[in-house]
Amino acid sequence: MIAQQIINAVSLGGVYALLALGLAIVFSIVGLINFAHGELMTLSGYALLASLVLGLPFPVAVLAAVSCGALAALAMERVAFRPMRGASVTSLLLTSFAVSSLLKVVFQNGISARPQAVAMPGWMTGAFSFGDFTIGVGPSISIVVSALALIALEIFLRRTVTGTAMRAAAEDFDVVRLMGIPASRIIATAFLLSGLLAGLAAMLWVAQRASVDPLMGFTPVLKAFIAAVVGGLGSLPGAVAGGFLLGIIEVLLQATLPATIAPYRDAIVLSGVIAVLLVRPQGLIPAVRVQRS
């Protein structure tokens, strides 16, 4: 029972971490909190559903769905955010709200407002046990995928020129451009990565619930946003730390709170967030950013 709860906690934390990272990458480069991030997740969910309905083998369907998330993020940048480049933070924020609302309506009217069942393979919902422990396959896969994605991202940011340029751009974008590195390439890569991470998170989210609905992305991305703020907005290690922390606390409270207090779980979690921010207003692991007038 305890082992299972720990696995659930880490698995939920991993999903929050992937989403928070996506938000943080874009924020660190363009200063935009992308509220349409949840719709990237929803879109990937529908893409998985469509691929499976079309009869694609499961791994191919997952690949297609994740790619859809990444391409949608690129398209979003090109269509909605590139024309707004250089605009104020408020304008960018409103643009992302607009994109988010628009996509939600498209999902509701174009597909259905009701949840659609996704036929996940049977082995996903299975469990394996050793000794007294029973551990779900789904959450275990979720942990492995999150860990691999975090490692791959770390390698990309440390070892490649584009990754290094992105770390530099988070600190001082103008100077990166002075090095001759095109702003558009950096920004597009940031969105591409955030879309990939949203797509992966969507797969893990759908795997646990076996359904998609137009509002699927809203709650997890709201949580991811909280995680990113707690971790230190724009800080990538902070986003990961915040994501895991939030996921773990949520599951632990779920498991331990008496039934009468359980409905207040979110209130308790958010009070914790306020407490953290009172002590560390810049978040747990603040972003390195050069402030210029």
């Binding site: 600190e171 103008d174 451009r177 002075l178 001759g180 590195i181």
Partner: protein, 234 residues
């Protein structure tokens, strides 16, 4: 090589540069001097494309580069070493250098160029794996210059390289600038320390309140009454 014609720069309602005209020939050092707020840094930023010109134009090698993005201007061979150095604090010295040559050079060429830079700035070899933010001001200035040189630019814009450095380090930096000129590099130098700038430059342009008030050879300016009274304290 570079000519700036009737350049005007505005930040909102404020006119930072009213009118600047200057020309830099290949292989020379031109110093742009003047008091704080005279518009020197704004002029450099406009040449590099970081701030837009309200009017006027910038021509490099016969090509009008006014209004181009900073990355496009960098690719034409103009490198700006910005005021305050602005090295990437969270990146290692090695990564700072690598980014400097990232789009300009192929990998083997970039490695060779990095080696040249480490020869020229031995201090950077010593701190190769250290974070840029952990270097001292003088070391950061060396890094900022080396990072700009990584792209093998044809022209370097140096913004206040002496700012905040100890006198001994200032000498080192200026010796280095003289050495760079010997390699044929064209340099536009912005400097508040007028005496120092006139010592090293071929020609100089004096800015006051966003306008050119005087220009000529460094020798002429060093002996002119205006410069001696206003900037050299003589």
């Amino acid at each position: 090589m570079l000519s700036v014609e009737a350049l005007k720069i505005r930040y909102g309602e404020v006119e930072a540069v009213r009118r600047v005209d200057l020309a830099v020939d290949s292989g020379e050092i031109i110093a742009l001097v003047g008091a704080n707020g005279a518009g020197k840094s704004s002029t450099l930023s406009a040449i590099a494309g970081l701030v837009p010109a309200a009017s006027g134009k910038v021509v490099f090698d016969g090509v009008d580069i006014t209004g181009l993005a900073p990355e496009a201007i960098a690719r034409k061979g103009v490198a700006l070493v910005p005021e305050g150095r602005r090295v990437f604090a969270s990146l290692t010295v090695a990564d700072n250098l690598r980014l400097g040559g990232a789009v300009h050079l192929a990998a083997p060429e970039a490695r060779a160029r990095e080696e040249e830079m480490l020869e020229l700035f031995p201090i950077l070899r010593r701190y190769h794996r250290a974070k840029g933010g952990n270097l001292s001001g003088g070391e950061q200035q060396m890094l900022a210059i080396a990072r700009a040189l990584m792209s093998k630019p044809r022209m370097v814009l140096l913004d206040e390289p002496s700012l905040g450095l100890a006198p001994q380090l200032i000498d080192t930096v200026f010796d280095l600038i003289a050495e760079l000129r010997r390699t044929g590099l064209t340099i536009l130098l912005v400097e508040q320390n007028v005496a120092l700038a006139l010592e090293i430059a071929d020609r100089a342009v004096v800015l006051a309140n966003g306008e050119v008030v005087l220009s000529g050879t460094a020798k002429e300016l060093a002996s002119s009454d205006l410069v001696r009274q206003a900037y050299l304290g003589a």
